[in-house]
Symmetry: C3
Subunit: 112 residues, 3 copies
């Protein structure tokens, strides 16, 4: 089992969620975060004033996936999250040793 | 060392926390999340109107545990988080390579 | 690739972030959390009244790092987060199997 964590643009959340559901993803966890990538310290002009790009609001999406579907799910995520502009996000994959569905006590693939 | 992540019903937080403390767990991290499992898209009736079940508020609980106590802690979590109704939650376990207690610099089991 | 997760004092966030940037870290993710460590149940006196230390607000910092810089980054984190008082925080390191920079599709070290 793998855990796919994606830091995405908040305004992309619904579209990404829909694309994952269309693929067949049956659950996900979402939380609020903020962050920045390589453009830190980069100055921008907003309403005439120059300001330093700081922590930008992001959504953190977590999806438990079976190993066999992980690559496909990454493709869905990348193609939906991508706008071509800086700040499109970061995705990382970690190994999960055990998953449990609390109501039924099921473990492993059956629990996702 | 393992990291146990549990997505639980918010109203269960205090009871689960108490049960973990009774078992001997000495620390935990809690954050707000939202999510859904297999009932996505399922319609329900609320105050006479049909609506689609959406992201439900959840609490995300993280507990660093020694490998030797991990199974027991999963049992405590499952038995306390379970109500028998859909939405009881998901638990997953990942491997942790290093843990540090910042104040003392201790590492490994001594740091948890 | 490694993921370094640090639970830190909120008031230390800017200083820690600055120290990481000075070291060369090019991105990070921050979210709000709360928690407690070994002082749970410890009573303190605040404005004359005794109260039980409960969940304290914390910041959760996540940094994807190359394996070769991980130890240095832990040193930066520990030395900046440490005040010598209880509650300085906890840091843990997990293995990351894949990292993707969404805009470019880059993977691995190039994506961090
Ligand atoms: N090294 C990192 N560790 C943890 N989180 C990161 C890291 N880099 C970026 N992030 C998270 O990903 C979010 C989006 O990053 P972003 O897309 O700006 O990455 P980038 O490498 O700067 O790519 P781009 O050039 O397309 O902007 C950040 O707001 C932050 O939350
Ligand atoms: N595949 C998944 N990936 C990440 N998080 C998930 C996943 N499935 C569920 N979750 C998280 O767990 C929470 C609880 O899920 P839930 O208990 O409804 O799972 P379920 O499999 O639908 O079981 P049940 O039939 O008992 O409802 C969700 O709100 C979501 O935050
Ligand atoms: N076992 C644990 N699992 C998950 N998170 C933890 C654990 N222990 C502590 N934390 C997180 O780290 C934060 C800071 O912990 P804290 O620094 O108080 O650890 P401690 O071991 O009690 O050390 P100290 O004696 O210096 O206070 C907590 O608020 C909590 O969010
Ligand atoms: Mg960027
Ligand atoms: Mg469900
Ligand atoms: Mg403490």
């Amino acid at each position: 089992m793998k855990l796919v964590t994606a830091i995405i643009r908040p305004e992309k959340t619904d579209e990404i969620r829909q694309a994952l559901e269309n693929y067949g993803v049956q659950g996900m966890t979402i939380s609020q975060a903020s962050g920045y990538g390589r453009q830190r310290g980069h100055t921008q002009v907003y309403r005439g004033a120059e300001y330093t790009v700081d922590l930008l609001p992001k959504v953190r999406l977590e999806v438990l996936v079976e190993e066999s579907t992980c690559d496909d799910i990454l493709d869905v995520l990348i193609s939906t999250a991508n706008t071509g502009s800086a700040g499109d996000g970061k995705i990382w994959v970690t190994n999960v040793e055990e998953v449990i569905r609390v109501r039924t006590g099921e473990r492993g693939m059956a629990a996702v």
